[in-house]
Every structure is written in C-alpha cells, then in structure tokens.
C-alpha cells in the first residue's frame, strides 16, 4: 500500500480521522453489512490526507465499522498542496481500486481545484448533455447526411424490410440466417 501511495504515508491500526469523504455516500458500504462479514477476514482500509483545518478520506465503507480490523494510511499535507493530495487519493481509487469516476464526490474535487482534470465529475448533467447536443449538431454535414443518402440509410432500410418480412413469414428467418452464415451462397443464385 505504501509503495502504491508514494513516500511519506504512514499506517496505523484504527479508524480514520474525521473529514470529508472522496466517494459519494451512495457508493460506500454500510458498516453493519461489513461487520457481518468480518469472520471472512477482511481488513477495512482508509487513506486519509490530513490538513490543518480539514481531512480528506478515501475509503469504501462508511465510518463506524466496529468488528472488522481497520487500517488507516495517513499523511499530513500543507493546505497549499491540497490539489496534489486529493489527486493522489483519486489516482489510488481509480487506478488501484479501479473505481469509476462517477462515484467521486464532486464537492471534494471542486475544493481541490481538480475540475479541469475531471470535468464530468463537476459539471451539472444538463450542461454536459447540452455540450454533447451541440457537438452532435456540429458534426460535418457529410457524416450527418450519410444516414439519409449513403450506405447507412440503405442498410437500415434493408434491415427494416427484412425484419418486416420475418415477422410476417417466419420462414424468412431461415433464409436470412443462411445468407448471414454464407453470403457467397447468395452470389451463386445470380450467376
């Protein structure tokens, strides 16, 4: 763990310090559920970046685990390095624990000034969708027209016709299956 986090991190057995959590509450496990499974031998791990006025904690279980052993990795940072500290936690969560970005708490990312690096975490959904719609509208005319006059439109129409035929006459399912399996057979019909 220390090697993954980098130099300066210390481990102790015990609960993490109070602070704000890197993950959204919805994606953190309930301590009671975890306590039930303690017989299976898990260790609950927290990683805490400690500042003078505030701590940022990463862990996958809400605080309050009573029966499982808890290990906390901690490192003190000056407030001027909050960005670096939170980024270390995010990188640990994403690359080591393979957590998806949507589970990150946007308030923490915003507080650390990391919105530029994780824009989707911070942006409001309607802004993201608006940008996407604008981008779709800006797509080159050739690409947009492909659906109307190009091969894409033709294939779509053919699929619709075939689907319609198969619904009306199930024997077409077998015909289509044979053509898909061996397209050359279709060519032979026209030779």
């Amino acid at each position: 763990m220390k090697a993954l986090l980098g130099a300066g991190w210390e481990m102790y057995w015990g609960q993490p310090p109070r602070g704000v959590y890197l993950l959204k509450e919805e994606y953190m496990a309930d301590p009671a559920d975890v306590d039930e499974k303690c017989g299976e031998g898990p260790v609950v791990v927290y990683v805490a970046a400690v500042f003078d006025t505030l701590n940022v904690v990463y862990g996958r279980v809400k605080p309050g685990v009573a029966r499982c052993p808890v290990a906390t990795f901690t490192r003190r940072f000056p407030m001027s390095r909050v960005r670096h500290a939170v980024k270390t936690l995010v990188e640990f969560a994403v690359s080591v624990d393979r957590l998806p970005l949507f589970q990150l708490n946007p308030e923490v990312i915003r507080f650390a000034g990391l919105c530029g690096e994780y824009p989707l975490v911070c942006e409001e959904p309607h802004v993201v969708i608006q940008r996407l719609a604008e981008r779709a509208g800006r797509r080159p005319a050739v690409v947009r027209e492909e659906g109307r006059g190009g091969g894409g439109w033709l294939i779509n129409e053919l699929v619709k016709v075939l689907t319609d035929l198969m619904e009306r006459d199930p024997s077409y399912v077998e015909v289509v299956r044979r053509v898909v399996e061996d397209p050359e057979r279709l060519r032979e019909c026209y030779v």
């Binding site: 898990p42 949507f102 959904p125």
Partner: protein, 110 residues
C-alpha cells in the same frame, strides 16, 4: 486489500448520475443522435436495465434489441464489460461498468 462484499452497496445511482443518464436517454430518442452515438445510447440503456442479483449473463438479449446494428454494438460493449467484470456478473457490477463507459465516452467527446 479489502473488497466490498456483494450486496453491500445499493444498485441505485446517486441523483446526479441518474439525471445524467435520464437526460442522455432523452437525447438518444433523436434518430440522428442515436445513429451517431449508438454505443453511448446503448451503454446508457444497460445502465438503467432492471437487472438484479448475481448470475446475470452478459448477452445482447438482455436489451431486447431488434436492429442488427444495435445488437452488434451491444455485443461489442458487453464483450468489453466481460473483460472487466466477467461473463456472468451481478447486476450492480454490470450497471456500474455501463455508467463508467458512459462517463469515459462523454469525457472524450466533450
């Protein structure tokens, strides 16, 4: 390293992620948008699928798609998810993998 046991985290998404998926699915109703971002739209559909519990087999029939190109796109997406969560996964893992894909794809687009 301790991993969260299955069943410890609710399958529900947080409100912001839920709103994002809903808005994206609304946008996907447009035929032109759907054709341009078919993978994104199908991933969003997988994310809101009503699949629960363990033992969900990752196959396109989960989505009841009729167009061949949709089925092919879904198969490609599910093959990608299989590498992350296995061919038979629990419903939550599948939904999370789908939202992760949506996030990564949106981040690349915007």
């Amino acid at each position: 390293m301790w991993r969260i046991p299955r069943g410890c985290v609710s399958v529900m998404f947080d409100e912001k992620t839920h709103r994002l998926l809903k808005a994206l699915l609304d946008l996907c109703r447009g035929e032109e948008f759907y054709r341009s971002y078919r993978d994104l739209c199908i991933a969003a559909r997988i994310a809101v699928l009503n699949v629960k519990g363990r033992g969900v087999k990752l196959r396109p029939s989960l989505l009841r798609l009729s167009e061949l190109s949709d089925v092919k796109t879904a198969a490609n997406l599910l093959n990608r998810f299989k590498k992350e969560i296995g061919a038979v996964a629990d419903g939550a893992a599948l939904k999370y993998a789908a939202v992760d894909y949506v996030y990564k794809r949106l981040a690349a687009l915007i």
